[in-house]
Symmetry: C2
């Protein structure tokens, strides 16, 4: 298989699919819509998990684990919730296979039919609130701050690696609070954590905002989101945090005794990010040569490639490399020395470009003599020859610089792709010819939102938090509007 | 709910169930046979995961993720494998729910029937070997050393928290090798890792051995296992490592081109440990007062309880405790200061005994004056008053001592509960009146093995590795035997 990628400008979507497979992040499996996450992709996901998990724990959250299966009757308890998920549920109806009597092979045993069907969790609010009913009695049991790392299943008709798969991995937080204020603050705290993670680790700038009623999570009173902008000008929802009000507490009858001795329904939040972040990471930074990974999430931060003709040369280089890797590792930098003799340096260079390793060091016999090495940045393609003595501090500083550079580059793209428009003609023109976010007045009705979507495929990505209020007219209907919202075509 | 536990000698099984629930490890959910792993239990599991994951990675294994679903046709490809798992499979047959036309509620949409049923993975050999077919072409692609952390489902009729649940969490390693020798070595390497983990972290001595043909994993040529002995004299299989021969390579047609240019089938292993280890941990060390956790896996290693009457006293104690916790944390020791005023010291003492915290420090006004504190061991109940100045080194040393003490105590129990017998009368007598492992000659036939099981409920737990060969007669049939094997009643 050639490692050459389709160019982004030729076919962005094809570029993405090829890159995910060729860089060994993931591939389609034999099961419709389900992917295999390959070791290199999974290593990035593990780094994401570790940082998020640390951030959750630092803010008082604990991990737990709830069942994969949700009895059909649980799902039905919250009306809006079931309406949102019933159409895309994997349903377990039987618990045994047997050999067909006619010898035709393995069949589902009709006698092993479940009395009540089980749904594979598309999200766990219902099974968790059924549990919280047993855990919450008094205000002393609140707040309850729980997260789980799990797989979930939503039967999507059109799937794409990482961005939309039938099964995906995620974390889902589910918290319970004594007051509305506390629950709203929790939703906002988590949104801040998600935004900080996106910006500091993924180097992906995001806009924090609220979803409109029609884009809200099924069962939520308010959905907060972070929205990123991909290089093709399409938006991507990267994480959501929901204020659930008392909807699930009422559906599952979860009340607590307050300090004043009154019985009250509990207030709730839920929030999640998923392996979709992997898709966002790829699409925010990568180029026509392959992945570009921010150092804070790169499984390999520095790769060292020896340039040699003879075994003696390789031995001499290896000895020097040993010192260098020790120095780098002592600073917590992950280094790989690729001393395979089955591949040539040029092949290795292309391979690590494809895999997005932030820094590549090459060292040959002349470098040994001169006490130098050549170091190349993946993001800017800049090459420099430096003294071996300064390698540790140079690498440390350059990794920080790459992290910042990637963020600033993405931020610059995003900033130049938020366009204010004041007519529907302008609106369509920007979508067709420039893409990115379109900032426009909207009359606040779901009907107009729907009509704009039908006409342009653009949806309201969010109403930015701390939005500026200004009088204006809806870009479609001309009706009165108090603020601009952000539209975009989206993943 | 009273925290008082049923005594082990009264009803060991009831003691176990109560302890798991009361110590906040896990509880039954509303879904038949599925448990909720509660935060305290999950924190222990996370510690287990972290150590095992480190050990796997240090020996060259990488993590990946494969689909939850297995098409029915995949499961059918390896004859012994499907025979072993078909009877306990959760089967997905539909992908949508809808509202019944007669208004009776949510039903499975008959029009959303899958063409081919999907099995929830009971283990992932089939979906993984379907993938390996795409990944393995040449000897350069081998060995392939992959692990995944995942949930699996086996439809068990009788379930018990952690020990046997319909859904459980585990890791499953799946490796591919160029030679039989390498694959066998891999199975043995993993068995050593499992044994080291059990002994060093769980403080649980284990016997390494081979399963008999009838106890082998469905599809394996050889199953290696580690067997622990619980305090009631019943054995528990704590981990298995399978040499799969070329069975799955042949079923999924996975061949590679050898260095010599020949096409050959790949050799395989698979191996796993699960949340069952949590049950083993509880049953190996705990007592009638609650959990006893080995320091190497305890989420809280030291708890500090202030003894005070006034707020001023609490403030003064807290200030001192602050110094102590800093000192302990700088050594990587996890400390909790329980300064809640809503509970009395006596209540807290019982609570942390129940939760198995290895060391408890109590500090009152007199300790402040004298520069002392009281420190109590959970394992021996020994209390000592020591100087505050020596607390860090004392805690460090005592945690090591507790870890060793728990192991030695369990080892001593195990060593005194391996009984050699030479007649079937003796065999039954030991099982009825002493329990533990019974070391006996066996004629090597599955028929005798089955008959002994029917007569006594004891199974062959393993043929110990490096077993001593000696001439003898089968304890049941009197037929010739070359070695003793270990029988026991088991979980």
């Amino acid at each position: 298989m050639s490692n050459k990628l389709t160019k982004r400008e030729t076919d962005y979507s094809k570029w993405y699919n090829e890159l995910v497979v060729k860089a060994n992040l993931a591939e389609n499996s034999g099961v419709r819509g389900c992917m295999v996450i390959k070791p290199y992709g999974y290593a990035i996901w593990e780094k994401m998990q570790a940082e998020l998990d640390r951030m959750f724990k630092e803010t008082g959250h604990e991990n737990a684990y709830f069942p994969l299966f949700i009895p059909k009757s649980y799902l039905s308890k919250e009306a809006a919730h079931v309406e949102g998920f019933a159409k895309e549920c994997a349903v377990v109806t039987h618990y045994r296979l047997k050999n067909a009597e006619d010898g035709s092979g393995l069949i589902v045993d009709p006698e092993a039919k479940l009395e009540e069907e089980l749904i594979i969790r598309p999200t766990s609010e219902t099974i968790i609130w059924d549990t919280y009913k047993r855990w919450i009695e008094s205000y002393r049991d609140l707040p309850l701050l729980i997260n789980q790392w799990a797989n979930v299943v939503r039967w999507e008709m059109r799937t794409r690696l990482f961005l939309r798969t039938t099964e995906f991995l995620w974390q889902e937080g589910h918290t319970a609070h004594a007051t509305k204020k506390e629950a709203v603050e929790e939703s906002e705290l988590i949104l801040d954590i998600y935004a900080e993670f996106a910006e500091k680790f993924m180097a992906m700038p995001v806009i924090k905002g609220l979803k409109t009623a029609s884009e809200r999570f099924a069962g939520a009173e308010e959905t907060y989101c972070i929205e990123g902008l991909m290089q093709d000008g399409k938006a991507l929802q990267a994480g959501t945090s929901h204020f659930l009000g008392q909807n699930f507490a009422k559906a599952f009858d979860v009340q607590f005794t307050s300090k004043e001795g009154k019985r009250e329904y509990v207030w709730a939040t839920s929030w999640g990010v998923s392996t979709r972040l992997m898709g966002a990471l790829v699409m925010t930074h990568s180029d026509d040569l392959g992945l570009v990974l921010p150092p804070n999430l790169a499984p390999i931060q520095v790769v060292i490639v020896p340039i040699h003709k003879t075994d003696e040369e390789l031995d001499a280089i290896s000895e020097k490399v040993n010192d260098i890797t020790k120095g780098l590792r002592s600073k917590g930098i992950s280094v790989k020395f690729d001393n395979r003799t089955t591949y040539k340096p040029g092949w290795k260079f292309a391979e690590y470009e494809l895999k997005g390793v932030p820094l590549r060091i090459a060292m040959g016999p002349r470098d040994l003599e001169a006490g130098t090495l050549e170091i190349a940045r993946r993001d800017t393609h800049e090459k420099r020859t430096i003294s071996q003595n300064e390698v540790v501090s140079f690498v440390e500083n350059t990794l920080i610089d790459i992290q910042e550079n990637l963020y600033n580059k993405a931020l610059n793209y995003r900033e130049t792709h938020i366009t204010e428009v004041n007519s529907f003609e302008e609106f369509k023109d920007v979508l067709d010819n420039k893409a990115g976010f379109v900032s426009a007045h909207w009359d606040g009705t779901p009907e107009t939102e729907e009509k704009i979507k039908d006409l342009t495929k653009a949806t309201i990505r969010c109403i930015p938090l701390n939005n500026k209020l200004e009088d204006g007219k809806c870009v479609l209907t001309g009706a009165k509007s108090e603020q601009r919202v952000l539209f975009a075509k989206a993943y």
